[in-house]
Symmetry: none
Subunit: 432 residues, 2 copies
């Protein structure tokens, strides 16, 4: 069953209207991935008998494993059992094991076993029951035309337990032992997808075909993924992962284990290791950098205070930025962000800081300082660095990008990095 074709069929009107976002299929893909299987197609249809029969028939013929999710409930629009029975040419019949489950379920809750509930025990003849200890609907499975078909409930926590305790162990037991799927994910920032592709084409042009390369552009982090499915690939992994890591240099933040960590978390871990404290002095981001730091559990060890100095007056009151400096250079200027950085370090007793002042727009731009202009100052009292960028995005994107760059500049500062990130190469304000 190596290279098994796995497909998912999701059913439910609520999935078609956009009223809910489907997270069940991601959950199924994750647990299947854990046993080395990948989903190669998924289909979502409304609660429509003819459509369901068509899809089940086609999918059973083109896959080794088909998981159907949803449509097991007591109401008339729950059609999975009927559609499956029609697709495989079996009649519907009351299943004793399902009836026992329902009877027990209702007894436990002091409820009457009514007609809608009873419908949940009417299943395709010959199917196997997949127990559900969290809900009234049992799951069930059949083998048809060399395809194992599992029908599962749409309620996420019922599905999750059923997958973990029953379906995944069953599927796993049928897999050959030598099946490999090894995935390595790298988190990078400060290099675009096309620049990365160029580096690989130029510096790593003999990249082995046993290691499949994938990219995922996020905002702001990019993920690079190495997928290996053969023993030959595994043997090459360490060498080529290191080559890629070298080519990425300081753009590489970390190898991802489990859920990707936000940029702020990496920075906070770095600071904790060096027993350093950080503070923020924010104008155009209005507290966003501080909030990203404090989203991280444990941030209190390295972050004590942040200054949101949105008006000119408050830059002076809260951070001792000289009124004169603001008058002379304007609030969006190198002199002002340096003074903000120094003020924040002094007032908070922190070791390093990031200060930002910019024109978030859509109003407030000028010829000299158009919307998207932003000055950064960062570092320690003895070593403050500055940069002006032009980030021509809408207000929210501008703020998110400025916050991410601010955190990345601190990360690179801590790393003593001398690689220039693409946001400086491509976005440095020409005359500043």
């Amino acid at each position: 069953m190596s290279g098994s074709k796995v497909q998912l069929l999701l059913t439910g009107n609520e999935l078609m209207t956009g009223d809910i976002v489907d997270s069940n299929s991601a959950m199924m893909a994750q647990v299947l991935k854990d046993i080395g299987l990948s989903v190669n197609r998924k289909v979502t249809v409304a609660d429509d008998l003819a459509l369901l029969v068509d899809e089940i028939t086609y999918m059973a013929n083109t896959s080794d494993i088909l998981i159907i999710n949803g449509g097991l409930g007591p109401t008339v629009d729950d059609l999975t059992a009927r559609a499956l029975a029609l697709s495989i040419g079996e009649e519907l019949t009351q299943h004793p094991e399902a009836l026992a489950h329902l009877t027990h379920w209702c007894q436990q809750r002091g409820a009457e076993l009514n007609a809608p509930n009873l419908k949940q025990a009417i299943l395709p003849k010959g199917c196997q029951i997949v127990a559900n200890r969290n809900g009234s609907a049992v799951g069930f499975s059949v083998r048809y035309k060399d395809c194992d078909i599992y029908c599962t409930p749409g309620v996420p926590h019922e599905l999750k337990v059923m997958l973990k305790e029953q379906i995944i162990p069953t599927i796993s037991a049928g897999l050959p032992l030598n099946l490999i799927t090894d995935i390595t994910r790298l988190q990078v920032f400060g290099i675009g997808e096309s620049s990365l592709q160029k580096i690989i084409n130029e510096q790593l042009s003999d990249w082995p075909e046993e290691i499949e390369l994938g990219f995922r552009a996020g905002m702001p982090l990019l993920e690079v993924k190495l997928t290996i499915k053969t023993q030959q690939g595994l043997a090459l992994k360490s060498l080529w992962k290191n080559k890629l890591a070298n080519a990425l240099g300081d753009h590489l933040i970390a190898e991802i284990q489990g859920k990707p960590k936000p940029l702020a978390e990496h920075l906070i871990n770095q600071l904790q290791q060096h027993n350093l404290k950080v503070t923020t002095a924010e104008s155009c981001t209005g507290g966003l950098i501080a909030s990203k730091l404090t989203e991280v559990s444990g941030s209190s060890a390295v972050f004590e205070a942040g200054f949101v100095t949105y008006s000119n007056q408050m830059k002076t009151t809260m951070l001792d930025v000289p009124q004169n400096t603001i008058n002379q250079h304007g609030a969006v200027s190198e002199a002002v962000v340096i003074a903000m950085a120094k003020g924040a370090l002094t007032k908070s007793n922190a070791d390093i800081t990031i200060a930002v002042s910019g024109v978030a727009g859509p109003n407030g731009g000028s010829d000299d300082k158009p919307v998207g202009t932003v000055w950064f100052a960062w570092g320690s009292m003895a070593n403050i660095q500055t940069q002006c960028l032009l980030l021509p995005y809408n207000r929210l994107q501008f703020q998110q990008f400025v916050a991410a760059i601010g955190l990345d500049l601190l990360r690179r500062y801590q790393n003593k990095s001398n690689t220039i990130p693409n946001y400086i190469v491509e976005r440095a304000f020409p005359d500043k």
Copy 2:
């Protein structure tokens, strides 16, 4: 084209592995529903050329409108243009309009137009360009076998703008004129879906069937939707909308026109009208409330400064919270949030404020103040109100919910509201 068959095809390895949850298809379904169209099938496949060609061919033959999402990027795993060209039997060629867009896009950013980027201008011959003002990848459309096929980018905000500004108006223009779909959307906060349903059952039990009621639970805002498809329904609209608005009282924030406005924007508009200034004093939210206020364009008129006082020491240094008060009551206490609120008003010269201090977790809870405990203080110097809630969510949800409640408390304060919101009814900390 009433009763048009609409299908969606989503492509991307990241959608198959479960690494990300697809929210694009829900977004597409929502905007299509707004013009009276429903999606009847959607298929998701990995970045695999043969699979894509099969799906496109089948879907184009079985639908009137097909929207393909994803696979427009510069890298080798972006295959949509190639797959579409093969499916419809056209060759790939450099599209002058797409090239112009890419050239302009790179120029604006001072970047070089490299080979991977250039790939984004190689499109099926004869296709129409769908402009993308937020990204490098243009969209494109073709008409094939009576099916309008639109190819769209996977990045959600690029997709959203493209749908709104171009694709939906184009599709809509082709729909018959006598089709009515009148949708009214109300934004509410501080009332749950089940409480709302109860109000409607009890106070508006004769709700007319010509007006379909729908709910969409968001975090934190709830959307109530009235959908009308007949002339009789239109005639009843104004009366019943007003009845519903009366029943909702202060829980109703606004009728939504276009894109829903965030809570902070409503508050800022209120404050602007009354020429009042607001400040924030944040501990457990770490700058999130300030950042939500400053996300709003024009917030500088009402917001000058925010204080992120994360440590005890900085509550004293920045906001003059007496050391003694912290020692005696702890940082998460009524006395401390009152002192934070007063300190913030004094230091910033603002008229009203919101102060929060809580246990965001996962660590730091105690028997007396478990994780999820949060104290709010809000109002003006002459009238500071307080409330303790227990919000037992994970760290990020807790911070988001506290920020939303903080903004809503200020909104209700400005409205002189005396309706008690459900987050107080249901989550008030029993003994505080």
